[in-house]
Symmetry: C2
Subunit: 347 residues, 2 copies
DNA sequence: AAAGACGTTTCTAGCGCTGTACATTGACGG
DNA sequence: CCGTCAATGTACAGCGCTAGAAACGTCTTT
């Protein structure tokens, strides 16, 4: 390796000490200038700054981290980066992170329990100051067992260990809102899409609960045949699920979907089968991803306040980073129903 | 700070030396075990491993980085995380990264030149081993000027400095394919959506070029009125652009869209105005994001091979990381036309 | 039995930065 | 004229890990 960089292969990095020598001061003084420490004589500060500029010095963040013990990074662990809900959430998290001076490492778990476990183990590796994690397969117990020192905030409803901070929306009440909305339109045979056999996340159950509550309070009888099941969380599966129901001759005039992707699948089947939305069937989605605004018809959707989720998650995380060690806080973030064409306001 | 962790506030991290002491060996031996160095006596290895397990030791990655000079991280800088194309690309990059043992820091530039510049400066901060960057506002010159030591690979067509590696698809030929496809269906009045006034990226121009070539070779006259302009890169803007053309009475039987979002906007306007797709107008999108499969009708779309882009970018980046300092390589990645309902094969 | 040869383990100097402890200076009051 | 204090600077010991050099057996070889 040629530290002179003459051969262009290994331009030696400029270090603090190089700047110090050029400026004729100590490392600490340079460091003080870099950090805008107030008690540096103006003349010296100028001289040091000149040396920094001349050499093009940039502090080595890794070294800084080792010295300070802070990494300035947080990990965001989500099932899939390119799921619209998660990519939109990621964006809000990324923006909040920038605002608060953190960088974000994205970890894609693909809902793989092994990966989920690995993500949590990383907490201990000194890589990040904290982790925001949306678990799918790990339960409360699994998470509680890995009681690492690194702050952790959970998203979603899959697991809610007592000791861990948590941010979520009130799924029951949101599903209730969606169901009431359809009821107010006059729908009486309202379906729920969909239950998934292998679903370990609590979300679906809570949403189903809200849906049932809604029917109950309107005096509409629960009809098991109207609870559709799907094989997996994809638009395709939602499409098939609705198609099968239609084949079976199940009749319904409204659908609450646990997911925009299901809703998109539903819209497509309904459209392909010649039904009109919302004329024949009103459809409500969930997550209010940007897709909802561009389907035909546009999609009424339950809208979790993603910005608020990001902010709340960071609030909790930063308190943990600052040293809070108390019991887990469970934070409920607001939601609304974004009303569009697939289920407009009551006529 | 209480290193005993008795107060529960600052559980001391287990360090290499702690393990070494417990096992009664040197740090290096523990390190050898951790790294699976072959020449460690089985008995010792076992003893050390036991100590590691007992203490729950996990190496401090920051320290390792400082010692080795490798961070094992790469930065991915993209305009928007939640743009479907970029979120899908991110996923492929993330998976390729995992495969090759890297972690990914996501930087969202929001197409802000200041942020773009900052991202490139980070290259020098020793934070990452390399950067994969999809520039929008920075030109070749700007990028070339910041000749940092950290490896860089560019994506997209906005800037192509001679010295920098580059991965892209052949936009001209892809647009040509799309146009030919419509021509083969019998379309003769084919529109292009859309040109953006403030567009600094070369992509649109290249796509426009391919579109024009296609018309030319089919002997169809170019009609400036069929080149639609949009105010920004959103579905909404695409929608308005097509709506305005319809209002003006512009007639067309096909549209090549430079972007799936534009295509979605187009589909929506056409649908709302009572036109049938592909009956009255055939539509081709671009990027083949997952949206394309779930619109009604489904969307025929130019499909860059995102997996190949991710792989190529990493190939180039790893060569740079390994020490390659030659001129920039410009890698063309394949594409295809994913044919769906909005523009089916010729009847 | 001495000398190599080799496999195994220890020693230790960094990696670049931070922060504490300490030294120096000059201003100011008594 | 000395002591005190605040304002500035310097020196240097870590942060936890890596990796090359050196040391230490142990086993052959002569």
């Amino acid at each position: 390796m040629d530290p002179t960089g003459l051969d262009g292969t290994n331009m030696a990095r400029v270090r603090l000490i190089d700047v110090a020598e050029l400026a004729g001061v100590s490392m600490k003084t340079v460091s003080n200038v870099v950090h805008n420490y107030p008690h540096v004589a103006p003349a010296l500060r100028e001289k040091v700054q000149a040396a920094i500029d001349q050499l093009g010095y940039r502090p080595n963040l890794t070294a800084r981290r080792l010295a300070t013990g802070k990494t300035g990074m947080i990990a965001l662990a989500i099932p899939e980066i390119d799921h619209p809900y998660f990519s939109e959430l990621s964006r809000h998290i990324a923006e909040e992170a920038t605002r608060r001076g953190y960088r974000v490492i994205i970890e894609q778990t693909l809902s793989d329990p092994v990966v989920e476990r690995a993500v949590l183990s990383d907490r201990e590796a000194g890589l990040v100051d904290g982790v925001i994690f949306h678990p799918v397969r790990m339960g409360s117990l699994d998470i509680a067992k890995l009681d690492a020192a690194t702050p952790l905030v959970l998203l979603g409803e899959a697991a809610m260990p007592v000791m861990t901070d948590h941010v979520m929306i009130d799924n029951v009440s949101a599903a209730l809102d969606a169901t009431r909305h359809l009821l107010a339109r006059g729908c009486r045979r309202i379906a729920f899409l969909g239950v998934i056999a292998a679903d370990i996340t609590g979300s679906t159950n809570q949403r189903l609960l809200g849906y049932q509550q809604g029917l109950l309070e309107a005096g509409v009888e629960l009809n098991p045949e109207l609870v559709f099941t799907a094989s997996e969380f994809t638009a395709e599966a939602g499409l098939r699920s609705v198609a099968k129901a239609l084949e079976r001759g199940v009749r319904f005039d409204g659908v609450v979907c646990r997911d925009d992707r299901f809703a998109i699948g539903a819209l497509k089947t309904l459209h392909d089968s010649g039904r009109s939305v919302p004329g024949d069937v009103a459809v409500v989605g969930w997550d209010n991803t940007f897709l909802a605004a561009y389907t035909s018809p546009t999609l009424t959707s339950v809208a979790p306040r993603k910005t608020a989720i990001a902010r709340a998650a960071f609030d909790l995380l930063e308190e943990r980073i600052a040293g809070y060690r108390g019991v887990g806080r469970h934070m409920i973030v607001g939601h609304s129903l974004e009303v569009r064409e697939s289920a407009p306001l009551a006529p």
